[in-house]
Amino acid sequence: MKAITRAIRPEQLREITLALLIVVVVLFFSSQIQGYFSGRTFNRVTTSVAIIAVVAVGQTLVVLTRNIDLSVGSIVGFSAYFVGTQLANDNTISPFFAVALAIGLGAVMGAINGALVAYGRVPAIIVTLGTLAIYRTILVDMSGAKTVVVDALPQWLKDLPRTNLVQIGDLDIRLMFALAILVVVLFQLMLVYLRFGRRLYAIGSNPEAARNAGLPTQRIVFSAFVLCGALAGLAGFMFLARFGTITVVAGQGMELQSVAAVVVGGVNIFGGSGSMIGAFLGATLIDLLEQSLIRWLRVSEFWRDALLGLLILLAVASDAIILNRLRRAWAQDSLTADSQPAK
């Protein structure tokens, strides 16, 4: 027992559970659906996970600081539409510039959120509830309810979602999925090794204490929102690449999806604990279930949401009931382990 408690932390237990759950889900559906265990399923799920995972990474940054960003869905839609329009008008825009434009646009919208929350001292839920509506309104008014169509987009963008980085047997590791993994890993490393990352936890655990300890809390919270917006902008670009056809409702509902992924992934909604890996696994589990249920003929697709709701509840409840107890056992265990040499 002690060997186990020393090897893994309770937080990691959550990630291990999620990974196991994902395996169970895959095994279950592969016994139910003909041809489920194939490259096609993998590609379908990874393509769709890629987008929501990037948004969830941004959401995690904000949630770690005990805030929330409900405007990400509107930012995704806005940048997808804006960049899509630019590319449709001028096919010669370089890929690099298009991506930079999407990220920059998202960062600006995130900076507005961040400034209002950190410096304007308006609660995040109020700010982002407001900007959720405002960003969407600007998009609808700007576009005149016109749609970006696939045909007008440059060829490299149309090819992007099918572009492979590597191919292992039937499984394609697509460029967009690799990009999402890269984002997850980079931000996870940042959380663990960079001062900025540790400070996010410090603020989320106790904002008062963090401020009293002399941390520049306003600047850090502001940065978290800017990064969240930038990542939502990047996700907007990926959304554009994946769907091609962008209407003014693009990305709607992604704010709740990302919060759901974060919560299932074990990021504490009251800040201070959680990881990017957890958020990524949460996003994967949700998306895997969604995609699989669509193809499972025994239940109608209308069951999807009901099961998803139940899953979120189970995730949060298990965290509160089981993990808290384990954490206590862990803490006690390490106490006795530490005190022994002293005797």
Partner: protein, 337 residues
């Protein structure tokens, strides 16, 4: 003495001023504005939402949030429609829908009050789950053809020019004011919102109060869903989708703190009037629904930002706790009692 009452009074004065500006603007812009049918129409178009706003006020003052209300509304409407289509008598169908709403509320309340999970997470699950249940019931069908009396209840004037739902709303408003400002229960709602721990140690049944609030929220949301079905005359799986944001916006604009413990129904009533008038005025001026939502979003942010900036400029304490804590513990500068 706590500085809170005077601040609140100033807050409501500000809302009243905004309301007057909006009304004056409307009066000068359109000759139709002051007609009684326009004023009734103004309420009727959002009546289901503002019925739920009343109970949401209690929940937010209590320091919690209920994101699932719109899904409960949709589910109740779908239950009525499905049972009606299956040949169940309408009054019974309505009763079942209300019970379903009550059960949803009890389900939320159980996890929040007795297991101690955050209401944001539980009701987010509810938002998705109950909507799923509604979709399962109707799939992609749209069900209408309700009995004549049911449609009349939602669409026709009942007494004088007033439809049933509007009369009901004003009745509920009076009841809500009495419960919140004049009863022990209402006092408990504030005390728990201020500081749950202190409330528990002073012998208040925190769990029971929270449980009752969420059950009331489910029941009233279901009632609003049934009224919505009656007014629309047909129900789909996505009925009332997205209403939760409007409802929460109205409560917060009314000066109810998202951290719980402070806010009044007077403020919320003023905020309801402001939003309804704003929407009505913009509709009369041919501004689309989407832009209206954007304007209200901006108003929501400004309503908290401007007082903050003013008090910062004057070196006063701000109305809201300092940065980076939307879900934080209630502030200690609010006095108990």
């Amino acid at each position: 003495m706590s500085p809170l009452p005077s601040l609140l009074r100033r807050w409501e004065a500000l809302l009243l001023a905004i309301l007057l500006v909006v009304v004056l603007f409307n009066v000068t812009r359109s000759p139709f504005y002051l007609r009684i049918d326009n004023l009734i129409n103004l309420f009727e178009l959002s009546i289901e939402k503002i019925i739920v706003v009343l109970v949401m006020t209690f929940i937010i003052i209590n320091g919690e949030i209920d994101l699932s209300v719109a899904s409960v509304m949709g589910l109740a409407a779908c239950v009525v429609a499905r049972l009606h289509a299956d040949g169940v008598a309408m009054p019974l169908a309505v009763l079942v829908a209300l019970l379903v709403g009550l059960a949803c509320g009890a389900f939320n309340g159980f996890w929040i009050a007795y297991v101690g999970l955050p209401s944001l997470a539980v009701t987010l699950a509810g938002l998705i789950g109950y909507r799923g249940a509604a979709r399962i019931l109707l799939e992609d069908k749209s069900i209408g053809n309700f009995p004549e009396w049911f449609n009349v209840l939602g669409q026709q004037p009942l007494i004088g020019p007033f439809p049933f739902a509007i009369l009901l709303f004003f009745g509920m408003l009076i009841a809500a004011v009495i419960i919140l400002q004049r009863t022990t229960f209402g006092r408990y709602v504030y005390v728990i919102g201020n500081n749950k721990e202190v409330a528990r140690y002073s012998g208040i049944q925190v769990r029971q109060v929270k449980m009752r609030l969420f059950m009331a929220s489910g029941l009233i949301a279901a009632l609003a869903g049934v009224l919505l079905a009656a007014r629309l005359g047909a129900v789909r799986g996505n009925t009332a989708e997205g209403f939760e944001l409007d409802i929460i916006t109205m409560v917060l604009l009314g000066g109810v703190s998202i951290f719980g413990g402070s806010g009044t129904l007077t403020g919320v009533a003023l905020s309801i009037l402001i939003i309804l008038n704003l929407r009505n005025g913009m509709s009369l001026a041919n501004i689309t629904g989407n832009t209206q939502t954007g304007v209200i979003g901006a108003l929501l942010i400004l309503s908290v930002l401007v007082p903050n900036l003013v008090s910062q400029a004057r070196g006063l304490r701000s109305r809201v706790r300092p940065a980076s804590s939307p879900l934080a513990q209630p502030s200690q500068e609010v006095e108990m009692s």
